[in-house]
């Protein structure tokens, strides 16, 4: 699966798509493949502040639980309501399945994240 060029990536295998100061956050195809069948996504409440590099939720597959790490800092505006009943969407369409929408405190900070080519290189390392 190609990594879309309309967004940025982290070494923790999250993607973030910016639209001005609003951003959507999800996990990459590589991440979902490593996790296996996703059965539960635990996300923060709307209004919560999340901090770059820190855990903002967790994702559970049949075999394991993993933390979700915030690529950038901001305030949660929305959580994807479809994930409550259909967590498997993360496996089926990882790059279309956003988990949270965030109002970024510093949109310029995106410059330090990986672009799709850099991220892809990382997954082959």
């Amino acid at each position: 699966m190609p990594y879309p060029t309309d967004r940025k990536y982290t070494k923790d295998h999250e993607w973030i798509r910016l639209n001005g100061e609003i951003a959507e956050i999800g996990i990459t195809d590589f991440a979902q493949d490593q996790l296996g069948d996703v059965v539960f996504v635990e996300l923060p409440d709307v209004g919560r502040k999340i901090t770059a590099g820190e855990s903002f939720g967790s994702i559970e597959s049949v075999k394991a639980v993993s933390e979700l790490f915030a690529p950038m800092s901001g305030e949660v505006l929305e959580v994807n309501p479809a994930l409550k009943d259909h967590p498997e969407a993360v496996n089926a369409k990882p790059h279309e399945t956003w988990m949270v929408k965030v109002r970024l405190s510093d949109p310029q900070a995106a410059g330090s994240l990986l672009d799709s080519a850099q991220y892809e290189t990382l997954t082959h390392a």
Binding site: G36, E42, V62, K63, V65
Partner: protein, 347 residues
């Protein structure tokens, strides 16, 4: 692939849920060649097995198998195993891969005391291929002259599968009907390929360690290292049925008898999560901030579609219906004790 007890093992082929459901509804094929085999033979073989195994091997006919514990003097588990009676004075123990060396050392030491028998680690002589699920028989039958319907549950027979000399055992670790096929390693691939080919029309698929774990947990089969180990007794683990009380003696008997008379302080129970969250091995069982026990196995099961697990809890909380809380990464999450097994196949 993951390293596992010195083997490279596949966790999943097509996804744990997919593989799990295949076994519950059709059949799946597992390569479980990592399992260890230890043979005990000689004039004193029965006495030796009786001494080291919790169960009563004298009740086994030739061609029959039983589940048992290999116990410490405290009645706790060095390992759990299947005891196969190959002949009147010849037994084969099928043990956990990670424990094989430890088991062989322990058994050899104990057999010296028991008398005239040889103990041989024959793990390298056997690969082990399992086919499990409601379609197991119809997939395996065309590959063998052995009449599979003649093999009763927990019995075994000899014959050929895909022209390889094998032992076919009607056993498994999934809660489904099925067979485990002991085959010389150089013929293992042939048997594997034949099963996959024969099962193609029924959509039978290869299954890995991941599905093996979720399947056995639904069936409440204990996993060594999770649910049982050298700190848990047979009685605490709810496996009292594997104790041959009528035997004259066996290692661990005195302590188990003592525990039986005194009563247990804790026991292994099954639970279902009532709130969203999945309990995992090592999570604490809590109540009002008090630590009461720990989760030994837990997952979200693909077939029952519930978050389930097993945990050691004080006796006061062990009755089905009891409310417990599981500390899921800092959050007390409600769960309820339920009867085991979680899943039982319809005969």
């Amino acid at each position: 692939m993951v390293p596992y007890a010195g083997w490279e093992m596949p966790v999943e082929y097509s996804g744990i849920s997919n593989e799990h459901l295949a076994v519950r509804t059709r059949a799946g094929v597992f390569d479980v060649s990592h399992m260890g085999e230890i043979e005990i033979a000689g004039k004193g073989a029965l006495e030796a097995v009786q001494r080291i195994s919790s169960n009563d091997a004298s009740t086994l006919k030739v061609g029959q198998a039983q589940y048992a514990g290999l116990l410490t003097h405290d009645g706790t588990f060095i390992d759990d195993l299947l005891v196969y009676r190959m002949g009147p004075s010849h037994f084969m123990l099928v043990v956990n891969a990670a424990n094989t060396a430890k088991d062989v050392a322990w058994i050899s030491e104990q057999v010296k005391v028991a008398g005239d028998a040889a103990v041989v680690d024959s793990s390298s002589r056997y690969a082990l291929i399992a086919i499990q699920g409601p379609a197991a028989r119809e997939v395996l039958q065309p590959l063998t002259g052995v009449e599979l319907s003649d093999i009763r549950y927990y019995w075994f027979s000899y014959g050929e599968v895909a022209s390889a000399r094998v032992t076919i055992s009607r056993t498994g670790y999934t809660g489904e009907d099925g067979y485990e096929i002991f085959v010389p390693p150089n013929m293992a691939d042939r048997v594997w390929q034949a099963l996959i080919e024969s099962g193609r029309h029924a959509d039978v698929i290869p299954c890995g360690l991941g599905a093996r774990d979720t399947l056995r947990l639904e069936a409440a089969m204990r996993l060594y290292g999770n649910d049982i180990d050298e700190s848990t007794t047979v009685l605490e683990a709810g496996l009292g049925w594997t104790i041959g009380w009528k035997k004259v003696d066996f290692i661990g008997r005195d302590r188990l008898l003592e525990q039986k008379e005194r009563g247990l302080a804790r026991t292994l129970v099954g639970f279902e999560m009532l709130e969203r969250g999945i309990a995992r091995q090592g999570y604490a069982v809590v109540s009002d901030g008090q630590h009461l026990g720990h989760v030994t196995s837990g997952t979200q099961t693909p077939f029952l579609k519930k978050a389930i697990g097993m945990a050691y809890v004080p006796m006061a909380l062990s009755a089905p219906g009891s409310s417990i809380d599981i500390d899921v990464r800092g959050r007390a999450t409600k769960a309820q004790v339920v009867p085991l097994p979680f899943y039982k196949r319809v005969e």
